[in-house]
Amino acid sequence: MFVVLLVARNAFRHKLRTVLTVVGIVVAITAFGVLRTIVDAWYAGANASSSARLVTRSSVSLVFPLPLTYAQKIRQVPGVESVSWANWFGGVYQAERNFFPQFAIDASSYLDMYPELILSDAERKAFLLDRKGAIVGRKLADLYGFKVGDQIPLRGTIYSGIWTFNLRGIYDGVDKGTDTSTMYFHFDLLNETIKKLYPRRGDQAGIMLVRLRDPGQAAAVSAAIDATFKNSLAETLTETEKAFQLSFVAMTEAILLAIQAVSFVVIVIIMAVMANTMAMTARERSAEYATLKALGFSGAFVAMLIFAESIGIALVGGSIGIAATFPIAHAFAEQMGSLFPIFFVSDETVVMQAAAAILVGAVAAAFPAWRTARVRIVDGLRAVA
């Protein structure tokens, strides 16, 4: 208790210096947390992927669709439990900046394959029965104020024209890692319209989705599916859903690396600032620490005082920084709209922030503590701050 009192009072002996140091740590820890949350958001799709699902697409490019007949053949591959399909729509809602993903899906099989999309029985039924029906995620509904019963017009960019959908349900995610910023509507509506306008483009799907009987058989089943269509006009590439999601992340990997590097550089910078602060502090108190040693306190004890003060200041700054991360991340997500469908400060990020704060405090104190513990008492008593 006495030691806590001594450490606490010493920490705030120079109030301005301590406050400025704390502010620096708050900024660094907050920036670290927000940057890491941005990186997490980038990987969110991959992290939310199921290990029991595969994605089959054209081996040439995602741009090229697959014949719908492939679904039946994939169903017959050993290890496959069910198959669904989806098409990226890419429409515009009111203005180009109002971006959100839209997929045309085989509704019944797709919803069965994605139990993490939680829809009430009534809304599911209404959606399945309405050919022009659509469902949107909770985040999307809140963003644009969509309500069940609304009509949502989309201007087609890949499939030209104005497409109007009846909103039949709003789904929630099973947890905060589930994307709820996507709109789904019926593949059949898209397919019929395409066949009328562009007959050669009909009966084709962008991707096939496969649910496995045994997730441990992912590699074998993937190989088997691709082997089925080898040497055909539309050869396939089948991979786990996670790998599929990560392939999008890989396109921007350089940016992610840069963001991660900046997040660590910020910590290194504040570490250097704090090390300077603690070095100055220890130098100013040379005579006091020497007096403690003269009285019989060990070098390890005075070193502990310095460490405790440094880590204490870092933890105060770190705690405030962690608390500030949440509202700042929330404000950032609001500004980004649906660009980051899943954006939240994870527990892992909070733990890393706390660890970074402790590391800053410990590293900053290391040299001054070592030096103070080792300096001769007579030299310390003679020192002039």
Partner: protein
Amino acid sequence: MPEACVTGEQKVESEQKVESDPTLPTTADDRGAGTLANAAEPLVAIRNLSKYYVRGGQVIPVLSDIDLDVYAGDYFALMGPSGSGKSTLLNLIAGIDKPSGGEIRIAGVDIARLSETDLAAWRAANVGFIFQFYNLMPVLSAFDNVELPLLLTNLSRRERRERVAMALDLVGLTDRSDHYPNELSGGQQQRVAIARALITDPTIIVADEPTGDLDRVTAEEILGLIDRLNVEIGKTIIMVTHDPKAAEKAHRLIHLEKGVLTE
């Protein structure tokens, strides 16, 4: 190791001069009140003590072949010009510096042979410090400063607080116990330091220029207090000073010049 700066003849002569000075006590009876009854063996026995530093390859002697005895209950002053080595000698006796050679026995313990850890523990139990600039912790009250050395003991909180109250009462600062050093005058700060020096009932009290930062009137008060510690409580005091008035208070006076004890 540098050559001894004092020849055997000179050492004997200086010891004889110290012993023959009629103003200085030579027997236990002559040492005045507060002296322990069994003073045949010196409390502090220094033999062939030397201290040197090495700077840029050059050996700089500070103390050379010091022999000195301090008996229990002594009030002993070390005087000498600046750079004579008196503070170095005091630091060695207090155990906050290590000699280059020789022996320092205090209550039978050769402190020159103790490890750093053992020496720290020994200091905590046996030495009370009074520094020229008080060296109080600025963020602790007078009460907490005096209590500091007791944190190294096994006393309960209640026992510690009782002792501190007694020590502050002894130095006349009971009503200032919750004041911080920056709220106390120089003399009051030194009183707090004296209370801190006393609190563990140490074997010896070392005072390095205790009045060096005080005006004449306050210095007299502090010297009077230190004298009381010796006369009334029987504390063994070893003081370094360049102030003749401070030295007058001591019962024994030793001069140090260029690292050598002289009369």
